[in-house]
């Protein structure tokens, strides 16, 4: 395999201040390789968005801080670069698309103004040059009449259109990596499919590398190459999409798949019983132990480590299969 | 109990309440303790604070500042609290009707509300004084009108927001009567806002009464009022500044205590209501 484009290693992010201190994201490692779509999967609150935000140092700091680990990109550790270096990276090298497009666009400016300021934030170019790039980016994001959308305010756009504008905003400076945080959750199913297709085309046509954060395994199956499953702030399983979805090894992944409705199967849905432990009240052993049907004594005593098993990595003493 | 404990932890609320308590006690018992506010003794005028027989000293006519100031507190509080209380009830009802009924009735009410709301209390009071003559009556009219409108405006906005909420829509779909929906589902959500807002408007009313009396259009002599005392006292600032300072400090303390109580109550409300209040407090 190639060398990774982005390499997150042993990353922990904690809440610090006012006498409290606990980690929300714990010892997360994952790699993004050139020209691939990596999905991060998990329930809300599992730390997947926070992990992604920390790549561009967009997490709310304070009170959240990176407490250990590194995020390597292009020979630099992104957890240690200065604020101005980070600003230069944002949008130009690594771009991000957020969940709710309606609130994520500044209501006081047109799509065009947002796009051209993003260009001019990185390059000293004249307005008409910036405008041309903006129009190209709108077209790249799958917008049919870029000139019209360029002049429109966010409130004039539909949800799907606003999300395309946000994708255009991410593409306008031609970044190498795109991080999409639940980009389709707020959208209708038909629009969702169009947006996902667009992401696949960006990978194929531009050779982009994409991190896709989602809680929807259907989305993962249709677009991603590899996937990372997160639970209670840590990675519990990672591997290729085929491998993980066909033969899940971690009981949590297995449970997630059991909770997905399928058209071609009569199997009843099996919910995962119990609740996710809170990050300030984690058990000493495996964080999934209380909800796990395969729990052993060792699971409650000691936290399992991520280990290679078959072609995947699993954090479990008693994996499935 | 939990709510009470939270209230005790709220410094603004506690400090504001303590100041308010002292002032209310002064207003209730002061006039009885300090004697006749109108009793003159021209030979004992301009006595400073701490003079024996007149706790806060005396004014130009030798009248007890303590007696006059405490009576002034009584008038100020009576006007501010009773009129704002009335305004709260009226304003809440008008706001509930306008916000719930919508349509033409709401259009007319909110047009009037917005128009009147733009007018400053003091100008309304001066115009009222020009029409019905100086005294407490124009102050009462102006405070009542402007505060009713101010409260109705916020309540209406809140009701508009709440009546879109699922629980109200569900109640409507369930066939509950309009009266029941308003009293059981909507009113409990807007009344806390109206209450906190009213505490701010008590402050506005206190200031307006004092300002009107200060320029001579409010309470008329021999009835004492704090604003009037400040005004009379300012002619003798060098001789005995207490004549002006004492009523001035009392007005400041009254306004501050009511504002602190308002801020404290606001913090006990849920955050969504706080933004509604912040928007309402632009005057």
């Amino acid at each position: 395999m190639d060398t990774p484009l982005l390499d997150i290693h042993d990353l922990s992010i904690g809440l610090r201040g006012d006498g409290v201190g606990y980690d929300i994201v714990r010892n997360v490692s994952m790699s993004l390789f050139p020209t691939e779509i990596l999905a991060i999967v998990g329930e809300s609150g599992c730390g997947k968005s926070l992990t992604a935000l920390s790549v561009l140092a967009l997490h709310a700091s304070p009170p959240l801080h990176v407490t250990s680990g590194s995020i390597m990109y292009d020979g630099r550790d992104l957890t240690k670069v200065s604020a101005s270096q980070m600003r230069a990276l944002r949008g130009a090298e690594i771009a991000m698309v957020f969940q709710d497009p309606m609130s994520a666009l500044d209501p006081m400016f047109t799509a065009g103004t947002l796009l051209t300021s993003a260009v001019q934030a990185h390059y000293k170019v004249r307005y008409d040059v910036a405008k041309n790039r903006a129009l190209e980016a709108l077209a790249d994001a799958g917008i049919e009449d870029p000139r019209r959308r360029f002049a429109e305010y966010p409130f004039q756009l539909s949800g799907g259109m606003a999300q395309r504008v946000m994708i255009a905003l991410a593409l306008v400076n031609d970044p190498k990596i795109l991080i999409a945080d639940e980009p389709t959750t707020a959208l209708d199913v038909t629009v969702q499919a169009q947006i996902l297709d667009r992401l696949k085309q960006l990978k194929a046509e531009r050779g982009m590398s994409i991190i896709l954060i989602t809680h929807n395994l259907g989305v993962v199956a249709s677009v991603a190459d590899r996937m990372v499953v997160m639970y209670a702030g840590e990675v519990v399983e990672s591997g290729t999409v085929e491998e993980v979805l066909a033969t899940p090894q971690h009981p949590y992944t297995n449970g997630l798949l059991g909770a997905v409705p399928r058209l071609n199967s009569d199997a009843t849905l099996v919910p995962i019983m119990g609740r996710v432990p809170q990050p300030n009240d984690l058990p000493p052993g495996c964080s999934f132990a209380d909800r796990c049907g395969r729990v052993l004594d060792v699971c409650r005593a000691e936290r399992p480590q991520l280990a290679v098993r078959r072609n995947s990595e699993v954090r479990c003493y008693n994996p499935v299969g | 109990m939990n709510r009470f404990r939270r209230a005790l932890k709220n410094k603004q609320l506690v400090i504001g309440s303590i100041i308010a308590l002292v002032i209310v006690v002064l207003g209730i018992f002061g006039p009885a303790i300090f004697g006749d506010y109108a009793k003159q003794d021209l030979l004992r005028g301009h006595k400073p604070l701490g003079t024996s027989g007149a706790f806060f000293g005396t004014d130009a006519l030798g009248r007890s500042l303590a007696a006059r100031a405490t009576f002034g507190i009584r008038i100020s509080l009576l006007v501010a609290i009773s009129v704002t209380g009335l305004a709260m009830v009226l304003g809440t009802i008008i706001g509930l009707i306008a916000g719930y009924v919508k349509g033409v009735i709401d259009g007319v009410i909110s047009l009037l509300i917005d128009f009147i709301w733009g007018f400053p209390l003091i100008l309304v009071a001066v115009l009222a004084a020009a029409s019905i003559g100086s005294g407490l009556l124009p102050v009462i009219f102006a405070v009542g009108l402007v505060n009713t409108v101010a409260i109705a405006r916020v309540v209406r906005g809140e009701v508009l927001g709440i009546s879109e909420k699922d629980f109200v829509v569900a109640a409507k779909a369930g066939g509950y009567s309009t009266m029941r929906i308003i009293t059981k589902h909507i009113a409990p959500n807007v009344i806390p806002v109206a209450l906190v807002l009213s505490s701010y408007y008590v402050a506005v009313a206190i200031i307006a009464e004092a300002a009107l009396s200060f320029v001579g259009l409010g309470a008329q002599p021999p009835l004492p009022s704090l604003g009037q005392m400040v005004s009379e006292g300012r002619n003798y600032m060098r001789l005995n500044h207490w004549e002006s300072t004492i009523p001035g400090v009392i007005i400041f303390a009254m306004v501050l205590s009511v504002s602190l109580i308002g801020d404290g109550l606001r913090d006990l409300l849920d955050p969504r209501l706080r933004t509604a209040l912040e928007r309402a407090r632009v005057k």
Binding site: A83, D100, M108 | V255
Partner: protein
């Protein structure tokens, strides 16, 4: 845009109605309008004759239309107390009040907005605490009392500034600051909370992710969003300044509309009251109208 036109038309109608209400209120205010002009020994018949000659016994709508007609011809009537032509007084009074009012508006927003921005930038630091506490106090001090403290301190004690009267910028300093104090406090509070509120909006994160500098995000995007409520505030502030000017002009002996109106009310000089009262109603209404037009134009959602 259509709703804006509707607002303008309705506001003008309400202005007409309220001007009539104010006019009628003053005209119908009982018999003692004659007290300003006639001696106490005047008989009831004398008073009746006076009222007749002044046209006060005519139907109120007739009086209103006569008055408005005269007003548009530039005849504002005469003062009852000194017989001076009101039109002759008005120009100076209006000019003086405009100077004081405009200076106060400038101070309110010229000081309030930057201080609010600083407080929001330095959130929870001692700078923020200082600015916020000062603004709480600023809103609690009644301005007539602030005026007395300021006079006592800066003119009686320190002798830096004159306590009353008019002429030169020295005379403007105290009344303008006293008149704007509460507005500054409120503007600081509003600006600070609007800036903090907008800084927490999702769009800020999007702009950061696009690589915009913090300065640009703060001064262009967050500021522009935060100025919307400030525009409404400005309209209301015109009204508040008009209201407080009645008191502040009286204290500082500033020969403006506020002072003459209060004095005329005290003396029951109804022609003077009438003109200046209508003038202030007009100013307040136009201030609010300007703010709602401004708000519509500044908000893309309403403008389109």
């Amino acid at each position: 845009m259509r709703s804006l036109l509707k607002t303008v038309v309705l506001t003008l109608l309400l202005l007409l109605a309220s001007s009539f209400a104010v006019f009628a209120g003053i005209r119908l205010s009982g018999g003692d309008v004659t007290a300003a002009r006639l001696p106490a020994s005047a008989t009831a018949a004398d008073r009746q004759l006076f009222r007749h000659q002044m046209g006060l016994d005519q139907p109120i709508f007739k009086q209103y239309s006569t008055y408005m007609g005269d007003l548009f011809r530039g005849d504002l009537g005469n003062s009852l107390t000194n017989n001076a032509k009101i039109s002759a007084l008005a120009v100076d009074k209006i000019k003086n009040s405009l100077i004081l009012g405009a200076t106060s508006m400038l101070l309110v927003f010229g000081i309030g907005i930057p201080l609010g921005m600083i407080a929001s930038l330095k959130r929870n630091s001692w700078v923020d605490t200082g600015i916020t506490s000062a603004s709480v106090a600023g809103m609690a001090v009644p301005n007539f009392w602030l005026a007395l403290i300021a006079i006592y301190l800066f003119s009686t004690r320190l002798g830096w500034l004159p306590s009353a009267g008019q002429g030169g910028i020295k005379y403007l300093v105290l009344p303008a600051f006293v008149l704007s104090a509460e507005g500054i406090a409120l503007t600081v509070r509003m600006t600070r909370s609007a800036m903090l509120d907008n800084l927490n909006q999702d769009f800020v994160r999007t702009l950061r992710a696009a690589g915009l500098s913090e300065r640009r995000i703060y001064f262009k995007h967050v500021l522009r969003n935060s100025m919307l409520p400030i525009i409404s505030l400005a309209g209301l502030r015109v009204g508040q300044i008009v209201g407080y000017a009645l008191v502040v002009e009286t204290i500082f002996g500033w020969p403006g509309v506020g002072q003459i109106l209060v004095n005329a009310v005290l003396r029951r000089d109804y022609p003077v009251v009438q003109f200046f009262a209508l003038l202030l109603v007009l100013v307040v209404t136009l201030g609010n109208l300007a703010a709602s037009i401004g708000y519509t134009l500044a908000n893309p959602k309403l403008r389109k």
